[in-house]
């Protein structure tokens, strides 16, 4: 952001309040364009629409977390979701507080990183090229962990396949929403199919 001519406080403010990696990068280009709040609103909804999935997945887990829930939901970014959903909370540790601190540390590291980058970014000389792969690696590992946990791998396969297909059809700028629609439709169709089977069984046994 500094390289685009913004003050130190912009990246810090954004990492504190938005807490969504890709969206903060997109915001830089939005800030460089003209003032168009409605456009910005819709664009953000599209880029961050996947958070709806995280919310639906966490309804149960975040249920009895009291006031912490507000912060847990506020901080429900990709990283927080993937860790909180898949982590095995050690016995004797309160799950609500565990998830709270996962969220808080994610938030803290994120703001710290953005602040350090904003202040010292221009004096860094170490070649960090490729370091961004750490996120890819994290999500691959968490995907594998989830794969191990699931009895049926339908959902994981549906996610990968529909994302790749939509990426090929719609391109990298606008494949998220179509992918979400495809995932939802296939999951609902699957459920419909299962229900029919169950009904069929009942019918046969009757």
């Amino acid at each position: 952001m500094r390289s685009q001519g913004f003050g130190v406080f912009f990246p810090i403010l954004m990492s504190l309040t938005i807490l969504a990696g890709s969206m903060e990068f997109a915001t830089v280009s939005l800030l460089l364009g003209g003032f168009a709040p409605l456009n910005v609103f819709l664009m953000t909804l599209m880029i961050n629409g996947r958070h709806l999935f995280y919310g639906i997945s966490m309804l149960e887990k975040y249920k009895n977390t009291g006031l912490k829930k507000l912060y847990l939901i506020f901080g429900l970014c990709d990283e927080t979701f993937s860790i909180n959903y898949t982590a095995n909370v050690p016995e004797g540790v309160d799950e609500g507080w565990f998830m709270f601190f996962v969220t808080l540390l994610n938030h803290f590291y994120w703001v710290l990183g953005a602040s350090l980058g904003a202040v010292f970014g221009s004096c860094l000389h170490f070649d960090f090229e490729g370091l961004e792969f750490v996120m890819t690696a994290l999500f691959i590992v968490i995907f594998l962990e989830q794969w191990n946990k699931d009895d049926s791998h339908h959902s994981s396969i549906i996610g990968i396949v529909s994302a790749i297909l939509c990426l090929l059809v719609f391109g990298s700028e606008s494949f998220m929403i179509p992918t979400m629609i495809v995932i939802l439709s296939v999951l609902l169709l699957l459920r419909g199919g299962k229900r029919m089977e169950i009904r069929g069984d009942i019918h046969e046994s009757a």
Partner: protein, 108 residues
Amino acid sequence: MSLLEQIMTIGVVVIATMTTRFLPFIIFPPDKKIPEIVSYLGKMLPGAALGLLVVYCFKDVNVFENNQILPSLLGGIMVVGLHLLKRNMLLSIAGGTIFYMVLVQVVF
């Protein structure tokens, strides 16, 4: 844009982001029973959402550019391989990332 407009723009991004995070919890408050279809989706969606996230990370890789596709592919294989062998999250993530950095900085 003036400073005020810039801050308002960031504010709009925050509001829209929070809409996507809070909406499910507002529609399905804990004192109401969650419809069966939603708890079904809550169980099934994570696998798909994580799959989408993995593809999302590779979305800007140009498959026709060897110096983009090869490091991404090899780095990905490295992470999966390490994880299947050792099942140690930190090792898989650090090993894969260092390997990828060497590939993009030195090899390609």
